[in-house]
Amino acid sequence: MIGTLGKGAPQSRVLAGFVHCAASGLTGAAFGSMLGAAGALVPRPAGQILLAGVAAAYGAMQLGIVRLPLPESGRQVPATWRYRFRHLLVVFFYGAALGPGIGTRVADAGFVPFLGAVALAGGPVFGGLALGTYGLVRAGAAAALATSNTCRIHERVTFGMRTIRLWRSLAVAQGMALLMVVLIGVTVK
């Protein structure tokens, strides 16, 4: 992905980054809105009990206690798109595929309670905002890495793998915080 975004002249890379961010943010927001709209149909007490159960179960998975299924395809974005479509269209499609977060691989089990909380938190507007933020930050980080120092390609490509322990540690603490908040019974109006 970073290799694809980092292709071409500096101006072309920046434009590709914007297209990628727009696609990722839009599909993330659309998916979040759909989740929020669907979650609004679930009765409140049942929804909160369900969310607490999901947060506890996937929190245990984050700690390595249990192994549960993840909402993922397990595949990377299709490499063949790079040969089939024009460059800007490819980065748009890659952004669109990565924005919702479930198109490829889920990196951390804390993503599942996050999706549950988005669904049950505050309806389609907040759902769109939350997952739109996810899509935008995910694509923005990849675009920023792709347009950074082109001499250090190894450092750009391996950034995610080198920093994953930090994000997983933060995700464990945030997952626990989410569980506490749901158990106490506070949600977005």
């Binding site: 990377q76 996050f114 938190a121 997952l131 995610g160 994000w167 569980l179 977005v188």
Partner: protein, 57 residues
């Protein structure tokens, strides 16, 4: 001598996890008292998960 320098995985990792879980629980208690704290927490989780996803393209 090498056994003295070996990493103490059995104690270090659980202590780190206990620290993270404890910090998370305390943060959750604090957030529950804040106005719009839940929304802010979800946005923080969104950012964290977005950066974590960079490890799996």
């Amino acid at each position: 001598m090498t056994t003295v320098c070996a990493p103490r995985r059995g104690t270090f990792v659980p202590m780190r996890l206990v620290g993270l879980v404890g910090t998370g629980a305390a943060t959750g208690l604090l957030i529950a008292r804040l106005h719009d704290g839940f929304a802010a927490l979800l946005l923080l989780i969104a950012v964290t998960q977005a950066f974590a996803s960079l490890a799996s393209p």
